[in-house]
Symmetry: C2
Subunit: 600 residues, 2 copies
């Protein structure tokens, strides 16, 4: 079947004068997840992983993917002609190097420029210019080959009322226009879906786990154009109420399809856009007509700084979420070794508990539930047909979150089940100390994540240990659970604006971990709300408020390894957890909660 599809692709390539065709995994908006319509790489290769690039030439075909998928990809590609390129392994070329190798003098590379990042496309251009190659960047060859291709998602849209958003769309647009003036921009082009949803206070469900609406936006001082209308009127999701709402906010609705032709005819002046966020086709359509001011989208920082309404709502969302996760912990501890529990049934039960809250909408990402050695894989995904049974004697990592109208949550707890080894307890205690140290940091305004990351890592580094992921990421408000520009990372990026100064209202996760291959994994994660503290002659001091209020499993803690300060911090946190959530518990459950948050 794959062979047949590749043959058709090669025929189309020939007809279009394309020698080599490239298919990455993306939608037109560089979203974190892609819907069925965009799974072109999967269609032509059979590889089902979430990341990978397929390159097909007349002679050969190669799929590039990363370490998470080496085993799965090898299995799924076997029996096809497609070569597996293990990114990062010694001797394996990058996509760019591979193109430079296989393409001949004066040949033509083709791709759909809407699913290729601007930076990547520019990179291919530079590399291939040495061989005088041409690029055709406006052909989606799947269009003519893939017969039962799913439709573009245009799901129902709803307005996020001001009691949830805290600020009207007109006001937000006004703030962006102010910023455009400061940057000297005549037009601002926005293609990232979370930015658009935030700006207009609209939400949908066009991307998995991210309640956004498929759309583009073009903003000038006079006009606000939203390109989101489905061309087929039968599919129209833009109700009269929504249309009225847009009109009230002076936003004009245009067909989604008409975006590129509109963009191509804007001319003169300066366009503010973030090159790192837009696709290659947009950049090509604009080139020559407009001068680009390459700056982060103003909405990026604005939406990261939660307003007082959002902050207050987030506290509610986290309370509800805490009730579900704490009840899950109670259930797990009580039924362990009695009921049969697997990673997948545990996920289902946790979801059932979250659903009991009326305000709950959906998971904010696919729950990671990893028992024993599975926990050592930071991105483990349990599948019904091959998942572990949860039983006494090891650790269970549960990383999950929910979308509520009052905001999104992300929490990880590691549970100690039955008797665990001394080493597991030591590691659990270290990770806990790392998490507690960072969240209790008091710092001067002006600090970035790059300054603070070591507050978590120092505890592990002292022992010659580390975790190979960031310590934390920003979290959206009923939007993407991974959101910039705030984060806790120690490695400095060349573009240091990616690592924003921590502002009051920013939400960042604090999630150190430890992963021992073949044995166990630990991750403990709270969400932290950045707050202003005392201001004095030295400056404005800042601190973190805990949004997450779920007990830390004391069964995992080796108290003798806690320093006095850690002990105080843990007890203070558990006091707060008990105060906030105990009113919702009673009887046996309440007794259990009292013990689970006891002073140590």
């Amino acid at each position: 079947m794959i062979q047949e599809r590749l043959s058709k692709l090669r025929a189309s390539m020939k007809a279009a004068g394309i020698d080599c065709y490239l298919i990455p995994t993306s939608d037109y908006h560089d979203s974190e997840y892609v819907s069925g319509f965009f799974m072109v790489r999967k269609y032509f290769s059979g590889f089902t992983g979430s990341a990978g690039t397929l390159v097909v030439s007349g002679k050969e075909a190669a799929l590039f993917t990363d370490g998470r998928y080496f085993i799965q990809a090898a299995k799924e590609l076997s029996g096809t002609e497609i070569q597996l390129m293990k990114i990062g392994e010694p001797g394996v070329p990058t996509v760019k190097q591979y193109l430079a190798r296989i393409m001949g003098e004066g040949e033509t590379l083709g791709f759909d420029g809407r699913v290729v990042k601007a930076d990547d496309g520019t990179g291919y251009e530079e590399t291939l210019s040495q061989k005088h190659c041409r690029i055709i960047w406006n052909r989606d060859l799947a269009e003519e080959i893939w017969e039962d291709r799913p439709a573009l998602p245009h799901n129902p849209v709803f307005i996020l009322e001001e009691r949830y958003s805290g600020e009207g769309a007109s006001q937000k647009i006004g703030r962006v226009r102010e910023k455009m003036k400061q940057e000297g921009a005549d037009v601002h082009i926005l293609t990232s879906l979370d930015d658009i949803a935030w700006l207009l206070n609209i939400r949908g469900s066009d991307v998995e786990s991210c309640p956004v609406v498929l759309s583009y936006m073009i903003l000038t001082q006079d006009q606000a154009l939203l390109f989101a209308e489905e061309t087929d009127p039968g599919e129209d999701v833009w109700t009269q109420e929504l249309r009225r709402y847009l009109k009230e906010n002076q936003v004009e609705l245009r067909p989604y399809d008409s975006f590129y032709s509109y963009a191509a005819q804007i001319s003169g002046g300066k366009a503010l856009l973030s090159k790192g966020r837009v696709n290659y086709r947009l950049l090509k359509e604009l080139s020559g007509n407009l001068e680009v001011i390459d700056r982060p989208n103003p909405t990026s920082l604005m939406k990261a700084v939660k307003n007082p309404t959002e902050m207050e709502n987030l506290r509610k969302a986290h309370l509800w979420d805490a009730l579900a996760v704490t009840r899950f912990m109670y259930w797990l501890k009580k039924n362990l070794g009695k009921l049969p529990i697997t990673e997948v049934s545990a996920i289902e039960y946790l979801e059932e508990l979250r659903r009991k809250c009326e305000a709950y909408r959906e998971p904010s990402f696919a729950t990671i539930c990893a028992y024993g050695a599975n926990g050592a894989l930071a991105h483990y995904s349990a599948r019904k047909e091959a998942c572990a049974e949860i039983k006494p004697g090891s650790l269970l990592v549960v990383d999950s979150g929910g979308h509520y109208l009052e905001g999104s949550t992300d929490i990880t707890r590691t549970f100690a089940l039955g008797e665990i080894s001394r080493e597991m307890k030591e590691h659990f205690t270290l990770v806990l100390r790392a998490m507690l140290t960072l969240k209790n940091t008091r710092f001067l305004y002006g600090c970035r994540g790059v300054n603070l990351d070591i507050r978590a890592r120092e505890v592990l580094w002292e022992k010659g240990l580390d975790y190979k992921h960031g310590t934390g990421h920003g979290v959206g408000y009923l939007l993407s659970v991974h959101e910039g520009p705030n984060s806790f990372r120690w490695k400095l990026q060349p573009d240091y604006q990616e690592n924003a100064v921590l502002e009051e209202g920013m939400v960042t996760t604090d999630e150190p971990g430890l992963y021992i291959e073949g044995s166990h994994g630990i991750r403990i994660e709270n969400e932290l709300l950045c707050r202003k503290g005392e201001a004095n002659e030295y400056g404005q001091f800042m601190y973190f408020e805990d949004l997450t209020c779920v007990p830390i499993d004391l069964d995992g803690v080796e108290v003798s390894l806690l320093e006095e300060t850690d002990r105080k911090r843990l007890n203070a946190y558990h006091r707060e957890v008990f105060e906030r959530i105990s009113p919702y518990f009673e009887g046996e459950e309440l007794d259990w909660l009292r013990n689970a948050t006891r002073e140590i």
Copy 2:
């Protein structure tokens, strides 16, 4: 007298067609200190501080200086027409803003471009282009006015033998040439004196506290030109031995004076230079003829990474230095309240002790010795005619260092004299904890100072306190005591290469402080040598070796405020100090040392 000099200056300006003349405080090499020849700003204004810019127009004159000098400058300028501009005070313009205000359409600004940084000159250019002003950048008007101007310093030069430098000049030049190839540069121009001295393994005494040789260098793959010869042969410091040495290393000696005319005639190709380090005149002489590759000087990183010979020598230099400072501490404690001691006599006694070491050459900077409230001024400088008496009841900060053939040192100790207040002890203990925490940090290779700075500051930030200076700076090897590109600072600079990855062999100071206006100051400083530790699956771990081995004054420590970890760290440090320096003490002094480094 000042009025008369300003009149002459205005007459020269008129003759040269200059409407406004600018005199900063610098030499041709942007050195930290300037010698008599370069004190033009002092000559025309009467202001003797180490930093300031004088701007003179037909109508007015203004002197710009920073917070350290507001009081002194006001006093020294009184009675002249010169207006004092307090940099950073509300409503006070910057030099650029001031020029924009006072200069009329089409007027001419003049300065000696050799003492103006390239960046500053470019800034003036941009600002004044709006008024169509012209800049004359090659006139040093002091030449014709200042009759008894000191000569340019051309002091004796000596070769730093390989047993001190650890690497021959030819090898170093070879490494720079390698780097030039990598950067695609045809020529490399070096004007910073410490870089040249390091590269050629030569030292002199042309800048105060920095044993360098007044010179420029131009390097290609075939030629190495050193512009350092005095035109007047009577003054020649280049002995036959030195000339032979340069020849052996294929370095050609040229007259110091001929540098700009030589630079102006190089044409074609690309020149590697660091725009932030060169002066404006050089940039103008090159412009049009060469394409500039603006990158840090390769020598900057190379000289920061000390080689094994330098590391071994540094341990010796620090041992000798420790003997002097520890004996000073003994003398101070023993004679306090018995002998009359002032800040200045204490400085003299410490210098006397350092001089007892044969390898000692000179102070690496002017010693700061600040008693009581004087200690709250981070840059206090005691003067004989107005210095404090040192007596029981407060703290004494002593920040000093020495140049040895085996390297340079920089150490601060704060001494508790007699009974001090509870608050002073609390503050002393906090600063000590900050110093100990940073120096005991274990970290993964790849960290920069910006990641680690918080390890010192966290202790103070937790209490709502801070110090308004960096936590530490790099230290040169018988060169400048303030040397990049390594440092401990938390504020991210736009040019993040300024904040280098910490490499094995880098030396950085660890010197947190606390300054309570009108009462007392504390600073405790060790020099840390960055070392490789264990390498494992997580990466290469790094740690710091203490170069400084001088007791911390236990009289200042409130033991009850130390955490268990701090106590262990302090005891471990004192054990090491005792082991290293006790062989050089005996009798009563040895008993005292044993007590001064006792376990607590």
